[in-house]
């Protein structure tokens, strides 16, 4: 091809793009359009799907009850493939092309962090169901979350380790690939050392690894009283199985990433007696939770909702509550209403928004006993 032809082609491409750029925003019909972005495929699909199912259930329930302010909700869900670089696009699409009034997502903090500046720049409220990294809401005053944050959870577990478990020496086993795990480990270590404990071993794994024996052998050699594993249940179950094989028989404990019925399904007997903190306990016999668990099981083939599902559900309910109080979906009003939330009762507990737009709420500590999550304690902030 002639060189001029090549450059012409480039020029043409630019022109085409320019022409395509003149699209326009969403509609303002009867339904209230809300956007959701989640990892429905890819590496972390299992979390995204859970939270999405909770989200979808909440929307269905609201609509069945006649919608909000007489208008039904319409959920637009986009898959970000668990891939960095995607959330910004997806959220841009939801906002600029679909014209959603608010954005829900994501479970993973790294992807919420990518989407947050987009929502902030467009002044569209974003509610993350389960991103616990404190940085997420630092992106701006339109960013909210319905879960507690890592410093709180880390401190809760540090206190739990030193007071309840009476551990002096704790080993920390972190997923280096996960911002969540690293954050939680950091706040736990700070809290535990402050409480007078000693971190006797710090080892790392990569989320998705299947062999942890190397690290566990090293941890065993350090003779800890307990092992803190801030990770996701997929890895944690296998870690506990292999720890059991190595007869590393001290309590293991972790955070909300543990919460899934899969943890016990996969880990089986190896999970017995371990602890974790989370947002809610499915076996908590409050009517609200029982109703949610039952509805969820009915909708999704008998699956028990995990924390991600519960938080996804709460993110919708929290938004609905805000819309109701704001009396509409106008962005600044809605933002204001959400920020001023004083008391919101979700399946994951009572919460209030603090000045950082982080949910101030209690954590629960569960113990695994007889293959079930047993409620142990509620730790208020």
């Amino acid at each position: 091809m002639h060189m001029r032809g090549r450059i012409l082609l480039l020029g043409g491409a630019i022109g085409l793009v320019a022409a395509a750029l003149s699209g326009c925003g969403g509609t303002d019909s009867g339904a209230i359009l809300i956007g959701e972005f989640a990892s429905l495929t890819g590496k972390e699909a299992t979390f995204g799907i859970s939270s999405h199912q909770g989200t979808a259930l909440a929307v269905e329930e609201i609509n069945a009850a006649g919608g909000i302010l007489g208008r039904p909700l319409e959920l637009r869900t986009e898959d970000d493939q668990s891939k960095a670089g995607e959330p910004a696009n997806v959220v841009n699409k939801l906002i600029s092309r679909d014209g959603v009034v608010a954005v829900l997502g994501e479970v993973a903090s790294s992807r919420s962090l990518e989407a947050a500046p987009v929502c902030q720049a467009n002044k569209v409220p974003m509610i993350s169901p389960a991103s616990t990294n404190p940085k997420v809401t630092e992106s701006g005053d339109y960013i909210f979350r319905v879960c507690f944050i890592d410093p709180f959870q880390g401190t809760v577990m540090a206190n739990f380790a030193s007071k309840t478990l009476r551990a002096r020496k704790v080993a920390v086993f972190t997923d280096v690939k996960s911002d969540y795990s690293k954050g939680l480990a950091k706040f736990f270590k700070e809290g535990f050392v402050k409480a007078g404990g000693q971190i006797c071993a710090e080892l790392d794994f990569n989320g998705g690894d299947k062999d942890f024996k190397a690290q566990l052998t090293a941890i065993k050699a350090a003779a800890p009283d307990a092992v803190f594993v801030p990770g996701y249940y997929t890895d944690v179950a296998i870690i506990c199985i292999q720890a059991k094989q190595l007869q590393l028989s001290v309590p293991f404990f972790g955070g909300d990433g543990w919460e899934s019925e899969k943890l016990v399904e996969i880990g089986g007997a190896a999970m017995e007696g371990h602890y974790f903190s989370t947002h809610y306990a499915a076996d908590n016999p409050t009517p609200r939770i029982t109703a949610f668990v039952e509805a969820y099981k009915k909708r999704y083939a008998g699956k028990t909702p995990d924390a991600m599902a519960a938080l996804g559900y709460d993110s919708v309910m929290f938004l609905a509550d805000g819309i109701k109080r704001a009396g509409g979906t106008e962005a600044s009003g809605l933002r204001q209403a959400l920020a001023e939330t004083k008391e919101f009762e979700g399946v994951t507990g009572k919460m209030a928004m603090n000045s950082q737009r982080d949910a101030v709420k209690a954590a629960v500590i569960l113990q695994i006993k007889g293959g079930k999550f047993r409620y142990m304690a509620t730790v208020a902030p």
Binding site: A13, T41, A84, G85, I95, D179
Partner: protein, 316 residues
């Protein structure tokens, strides 16, 4: 490449520069337009991917090496540029920012080019599959290092990067990349890249130093991948190490192969198509990646020379 008229050579040389200036001006004008942010964001992705694909084409397409580590170079550029901006540009007065942005981009490119040099050196001894795995490994090592580097946010990612990337910047730099690669290859000097690809032994018997060309390709390719990384950082405003894993490299390789190795215009076109395709396929998101995989397989069966490879160029 050149028309049959013997006079075309010098004319084409000068014409190209005019077109570059036009393309850059055009891009800058675009920046002033008001566009739907989604389309704007996708358009910037398109521009960034053009830079990535066209620069990888210099390594894989023109020089015949097989690099699977382009995402690594991109990561180096992205993190370098972003860190620079976070330290210097944010505090600087408004008017100085475009200059500082340019400095950040070039710095990112330069550091990426240095890493290109580091990868180019093993390429002297390794070929084919072995080179591919070494470049892949290099990309992964970069990712692991970044993942552990607290200064750039480690696994939590680097956030708060100012949004400096505009459509103008993106396409102006895409134009520059296309221009540089086209100009480089379309010169007596540049025929050496293709000669090395076609037959290293024969090339070296013609006085062409294959080592120098291979390393040059890596350095220039990495430089522009670094620039693309910088644009990406200031476009997404957030960097996570997982965004630069080897699947990202594969995406870029697929663009090069889809376009047709060693054809800049076709590769740029493929970058456009492959960036838009996933967006178009959003409504069937469940099947999106399955379709993408099938597309790769089908393409290799039906048009291994590249989807947009027209004309009479011999295919090896």
């Amino acid at each position: 490449m050149f028309s049959r008229s013997p006079l075309s050579l010098p004319t084409a040389c000068q014409g190209a520069k005019r077109w570059l200036i036009a393309a850059v001006l055009c891009s800058i004008l675009l920046s002033f337009g008001q566009f739907n942010r989604y389309y704007l964001g996708v358009a910037m992705d398109v521009g960034i991917n053009i830079i990535l694909a066209v620069s990888l084409n210099l390594i894989n397409g023109y020089t015949g090496q097989f690099s699977l580590g382009h995402a690594g170079f991109m990561a180096v550029g992205a993190y370098t540029a972003a860190k620079f901006s976070l330290v210097f540009a944010v505090a600087a007065p408004e008017p100085a920012r475009p200059v500082l942005f340019l400095v950040a981009l070039v710095l990112g490119g330069a550091v990426a080019a240095l890493s290109g040099l580091a990868v180019g050196i093993p390429s002297l001894r390794l070929k084919g599959d072995y080179l591919a795995i070494v470049t892949l490994g290099f990309g992964e090592i970069i990712r692991v290092i970044v993942q552990n580097l607290e200064a750039v946010g480690a696994a939590s990612g680097l956030k708060g990067i100012p949004k400096y990337t505009t459509l103008g910047w993106t396409f102006a730099l895409a134009s520059v990349t296309v221009y540089v690669v086209v100009s480089l290859v379309n010169s007596t000097y540049g025929r050496g890249f293709i000669a090395v690809k076609d037959d290293e032994v024969a090339a070296s018997s013609m006085g062409i130093n294959p080592v120098r060309y291979k390393v040059t390709a890596f350095v220039v390719g990495a430089f522009f991948a670094g620039i693309a990384g910088g644009l990406y950082a200031h476009h997404k405003q957030f960097l996570a190490p997982t965004g630069f894993d080897f699947l990202k490299s594969i995406d870029i390789v697929v663009m090069v192969i889809l376009g047709g190795m060693g054809r800049t215009a076709s590769v740029a076109l493929a970058a456009v198509v492959l960036t838009l395709l996933p967006e178009v396929l959003r409504p069937v998101s469940e099947y999106r990646m399955i379709l993408y995989a099938l597309l790769i397989i089908g393409l290799m069966m039906a048009r291994p020379q590249g989807l947009f490879a027209f004309g009479r160029r011999a295919v090896k």
